[in-house]
Amino acid sequence: MSNDDTIPITIEFSGGLEILFSNQKKYNLPLPFKDESGEPANVAFLVRHLCDNVMEDPRKELFVLDGTVRPGILVLINEADWELEGEDKYEVQKGDHIMFVSTLHGG
């Protein structure tokens, strides 16, 4: 894929989610510029993309449930809760840092 077709972004997993992604915490990812239907790539598309193309673990339900990130995972767009940025409708920008944090419960 040429650079014109993709957006370079950084993805990070924390709180144990990295286990589902080959134990790699950080990914520098070229995300396709447009989603399946030609719309600008948003976080919902990013999540599908991660699920289909990056995640090797077959236990998809530990990452995605009912078409979105499962409860108990916090999505942070450039160090802010995605709720502050429009949740999964946020359109991914070049150089974005998107983090998926699984909540911990131990104490």
Binding site: S14, G15, G16, I19, K25, E56, D57, P58, R59, E61, L62, L65, R70, P71, G72, I73, L74, L76, E79, A80, D81, E83, L84, M99, V101, S102, T103, L104, H105, G106, G107
Partner: protein, 513 residues
């Protein structure tokens, strides 16, 4: 002769005068010593005379709880003596010993006299006296909060001690609350400690929380986290919530400021951030996932710090920090990270104008937290009785007569597959077993993998073992799906109760971890 008599008389009277003088000196020295002991009674246990077996035993040979009981009694007596001496009202807002004890934080502008007085007035509740609660309580008691309540119904176990720093080897088996009180009382006898030796439930939460100013969530399950947050919202208390697992920790100050439900100026609650609980199968405990002591220690100490910050701020505090989540990851660089959280959620079930969480709902039991958070569905992959073998019968198979076939066998007659993760397998394993980690089995892509190929090469029966006997059943099912049982011709089964049962009924020497 008369001269001798007169000389002896003189000598005796001189000696008597000397003796009298010595008695005076002794009395004076004893008086000074009593005074010193009164002003610093806590110094007494440290005055160890290495030659005195009593001192040594008192310091090293007496259980902590017994020891602090003795000193408590001695302190009472000292107080009774003191009481007769000084009745006048104090000239200073703090006790004399408090200036000394808290001196190092009193001279800081962040605390100062007013901050210390606020701490002294504060009543804090610590829910959960484990890896988070122990260090949090220690620092809060050290800092001189007025009252500290402790909620927990658990007892101290040996496997707690690497991180739950208030408990001790001698107090294994004691309730965590009582054990913590022994340690906290010896740390700072000025703090009033209130025990709540019970599990927090919806019908007790409001009555337990109502007399406290601030709450620390040091628990370890989603059910308690939602219950604690809801109660704090209803009673308008700020909540300092933390959690930790393996090498990661998280911390949030919630409901800060603790405005009434519906007031959007209030800080978000746990439900704003996590409206839906995580699926139960995604929740991992420290017992299953592991925890590094200093990781949970750091998080507990940060809770104490945040609590001190909230308590010492001036009432007219202009700005409360915007809500944030601190992420700690021991093996990342940087280790700490702070991310911005949302404000109160407009449709939050607890803190919005549309809240369904009410005191009545909580106390009537109509909010079922266990059901809300769900529980791991009972194993659907459970095996049939003839697919399982007891640890004892398996021991016979290894050395003796096979209870199924009647043939004399040995440990080579079959393959024993241990499905614990590699790091656990390396801790201890049954002689001759092969390790196929559960994660390898569940992460498998397609139908063929090294371990499958290896197992296909043989026709020997396969026994599968794990720590407790759950994962082993899943793996047996998987092996059969993969056709390793040659259409039923080859026996595949698991050891019921796993290595725990093996230790209990076969090999008592097998390590428990």
């Amino acid at each position: 002769m008369a001269a001798v008599i007169s000389s002896l008389r003189k000598q005796i009277s001189t000696c008597e005068a000397t003796l009298e003088d010595l008695r005076h000196q002794l009395a004076e020295a004893e008086r000074i010593q009593r005074q010193q002991q009164k002003s610093v009674p806590q110094k007494r246990p440290l005055a160890t005379d290495p030659a005195s077996p009593l001192d040594h035993d008192m310091n090293f040979g007496v259980p902590d709880d017994f020891r602090s009981e003795i000193f408590a009694v001695l302190k009472q007596e000292a107080k009774a003596v003191e009481g007769t001496e000084s009745e006048e009202p104090s000239r200073w807002p703090l006790e004399k010993n408090e200036y000394k004890r808290y001196g190092r934080q009193l001279i800081m502008p962040e605390v100062g006299l007013q901050g210390q007085l606020r701490l002294k007035k504060a009543r804090i509740l610590v829910v959960g006296v484990g890896g988070l609660g122990c260090p949090a309580a220690a620092y809060l008691v050290g800092a001189g909060v007025g009252t500290l309540g402790l909620v927990d119904d658990d007892v101290v176990e040996e496997s707690n001690l690497h991180r739950q720093i208030l408990h001790s080897t001698a107090r294994v088996g004691m309730t965590k609350v009582q054990s913590a009180m022994v340690a906290l009382n010896s740390l700072n006898p000025n703090v009033k400690l209130l025990p709540h030796i019970s599990r927090l439930t919806p019908d007790t939460a409001i009555s337990t929380f109502k007399d406290y100013d601030l709450v620390l969530d040091c628990t370890d399950t989603p059910t308690s986290r939602y219950l604690i947050s809801d109660t704090c919202v209803l009673l308008r208390k700020t909540l300092v919530s933390a959690s930790a697992l393996r090498i990661d920790g998280q911390l949030m100050v919630l409901n800060n400021p603790p405005s009434p439900p519906g007031d959007t100026t209030g800080g978000p609650c746990y439900r704003c951030v996590f409206p839906k609980p995580p699926p139960p199968e995604s929740v991992v405990s420290c017992g299953d996932g592991g925890i590094l002591g200093p990781v949970v220690g750091v998080m507990g100490i940060l809770q104490a710090l945040e609590a001190i910050k909230v308590l010492t701020q001036t009432p007219a505090a202009s700005s409360v920090d915007p809500p944030s989540l601190i992420l700690f990851s021991a093996y990342s660089n940087p280790m700490f990270r702070s991310v911005r959280l949302r404000n109160r959620k407009a449709k939050c079930a607890a803190c919005s104008a549309h809240a369904t969480v009410t005191p009545e709902a909580l106390e009537s039991g109509s909010l079922d937290y266990v059901q809300f958070c769900g529980s791991v569905v009972s194993n659907n992959d459970a095996l049939l009785p003839d697919e399982r073998i007891s640890a004892q019968n398996y021991a016979h198979i290894r050395s003796g007569v096979n209870p199924f076939t009647g043939t004399v066998s040995s440990k080579d007659s079959h393959i024993l597959v241990d499905v614990r993760e590699k790091v656990q397998f390396e801790l201890c394993n049954i002689d001759g077993s092969v390790n196929v980690p559960f994660s390898t089995v569940s992460n498998m892509q397609g139908d063929e993998n090294d371990w499958v190929t290896q197992l296909r090469k043989s026709e020997k029966p396969i026994f599968v073992v794990c720590r407790l006997g759950n994962d082993s059943q899943v793996v047996v099912k998987k092996m059969k799906q993969l056709g390793l049982d040659a259409g039923g011709k080859r026996y595949i089964g698991d050891i019921r109760g796993g290595l725990r049962a093996w230790r209990q009924s076969v090999d008592v020497e097998f390590p428990e971890y």
